[in-house]
Amino acid sequence: MSGAIVASGLCKAFTSRSGVLVEALGGVSLRAEPGNITCVLGPTGSGKSTLLRIMAGLEEPDSGSVLVGGKSPEVITGDIGYLTQQHTLLPWLRVLENIALPMRLRGADAKERESKAREIASSLGLGDYLDLYPYELSGGMQRRAALGRLLAQEAGYWLLDEPFSNLDERTSHSLQGLLLGLVREHGLSVVFVTHSVDEAAWLGDRIAVLSAAPGVLAESFEPALIRPRRRLSEDYGDIMERIRRSFESILGEE
């Protein structure tokens, strides 16, 4: 069981190549509880990815702070799992080697890491793909393998930046279901960045809507719906509608 991820008053600005100061985050405070999925929903340029990079300790905020399980993210080694469209599998390693990589880095012996990686892979439905390279897999299978690597890393905090985008609806729904199961089973603290209202509504125990740049917390939802959420239920339609309205009002401001 991991602790909470607490961000308070995060501000971050970048200087563009032409010398213009671009404010990405304008003071975002957010709390992600263990065993929960906190979805961050926001338009392009609202600083969602910057927020996640700061939480991972890959960027320094200009002001404000992040505590991951009570510690500063830079001093945490190995307990933060980070997955984006770019932070994917290593293309020169087979699926099994990719999943086993975190254990290899920890110095686990070859036999142990292989049996553990096989176990993880088959639990994710990757049993038939162990000897393939990432480029030989479908987009959905690649994401499964990346989730497998996070499991092998045994990270308690998962920071996911649009991990299921560019997939067909059926595949992304099944991956959402898979993620939900993992979060419940391992008591993970998850921050899930997305621009899909449906994804946020289905996954989020808490949904934070960010405004357009510079991103600030515009509204926050905690849908009290029974899991697993049924997309066709009336309650689900209601919460979707409320989030969508909030999101559209932000887009309208642009």
């Binding site: 080694t77 190995g78 799992g81 980070y82 932070h87 290593l90 290899r104 880095l105 920890r106 390279y133």
Partner: protein, 301 residues
């Protein structure tokens, strides 16, 4: 009115990876690949028919190729096999020296700006200098000093004779020719490492050495292998030219040059054929390395 079929267009032809109208099978490739060599043989045959003394017959050249251990004592006193062996030994040492210096320096210069700033000006100045023009000065500097001078210091034995064929001046210029392509490709390889992959490893708790071992090295190796292919090509060009240069007493370049002077053109032709085939094999070997380390790249692009 009858519907007319739209005319077959030839758009998007270039979007396909390969444009070929020839069957893409092993037989098809063999057939296509042997067209130019066949034309070459035809030209050779025409040369024989013309009756010029410069062009040896197929049988004369075949005799030399099929009996590589024959020592034509009156002229060179070195067999074709021995010449090939000496050439390969020089190549291996010169190219090997280039590889073991260019790879680590390239990795360092790609990773550390200080090393790059230290090396870059010298590399830019030295790189365009044709290694062949350095041979006279290298010969003056090292004289006829060879591997034998370094290792045996003057003892006479059969090993001494072989080592003595590997002149230091030649190794230096081969090193010069092989170094730059490998160095530059390696630097480029390290620089093109994806930051996201480094971040991924660091978040998993990897040390600097582990990032190097699991990201930088596997990413850079195919780039380095491409540089090795170019470096090997340069080394071949430099080596044969150097073997023609006065002061050499063996090697395929020496053999073909001396045979020309004594009008034994079958040896010249045989040497040229061996150079072509052996160079092709060394290239194929590195191409294999390039593919096995970089098969994942084709899909990345």
């Amino acid at each position: 009115m009858p519907e007319t079929q739209p005319k077959a267009t030839r758009t998007r032809r270039f979007a396909r990876k390969h444009i070929t109208s020839f069957p893409d099978t092993i037989k098809g490739r063999l057939a296509l690949g042997s067209v130019l060599p066949a034309l070459m043989l035809l030209a050779w045959w025409a040369g024989i028919r013309s009756g010029t003394a410069v062009v040896p017959t197929f049988t004369e050249v075949a005799r030399v190729l099929l009996d590589p251990f024959e020592v034509p004592s009156d002229i060179y006193s070195r067999s074709l096999a021995f010449s090939t062996f000496i050439t390969l030994m020089r190549l291996a040492l010169g190219f090997g020296l280039g590889l073991v210096t260019a790879l680590p320096l390239g990795l360092l210069a790609g990773r550390y700006r200080t090393v790059d700033r230290l090396l870059a000006p010298m590399v830019q100045i030295a790189r365009p200098i044709n290694p062949i023009v350095l041979l006279p000065i290298a010969t003056v500097l090292f004289g006829l000093a060879s591997l034998a001078t370094v290792i045996y210091g003057g003892h006479e034995s059969w090993r001494y004779d072989i080592m003595d064929q590997v002149q230091l001046a030649m190794i230096i210029i081969l090193w010069w020719g092989a170094f730059f392509p490998i160095f530059i490709s390696t630097v480029h390889g390290v620089r093109s490492v994806r930051q996201s992959q480094v971040e991924t490893l660091e978040l998993m708790g990897a040390s600097d050495a582990q990032v190097f071992r699991h990201v930088i090295l596997p990413h850079t190796l195919p780039h380095a292998a491409s540089g090795m292919r170019i470096g090997m090509g340069v080394a071949w060009l430099v080596l044969i030219a150097a073997e023609v240069y006065p002061g050499t007493r063996s090697g395929l370049g020496y053999m073909l040059c001396v045979a020309c002077k004594t009008s034994d053109y079958e040896y010249t032709f045989a040497a040229i054929i061996v150079i072509g085939i052996v160079a092709w094999l060394t290239d194929a070997a590195i191409a294999r390395l390039e593919h096995s380390t970089g098969h994942w790249q084709a899909v990345e692009r």
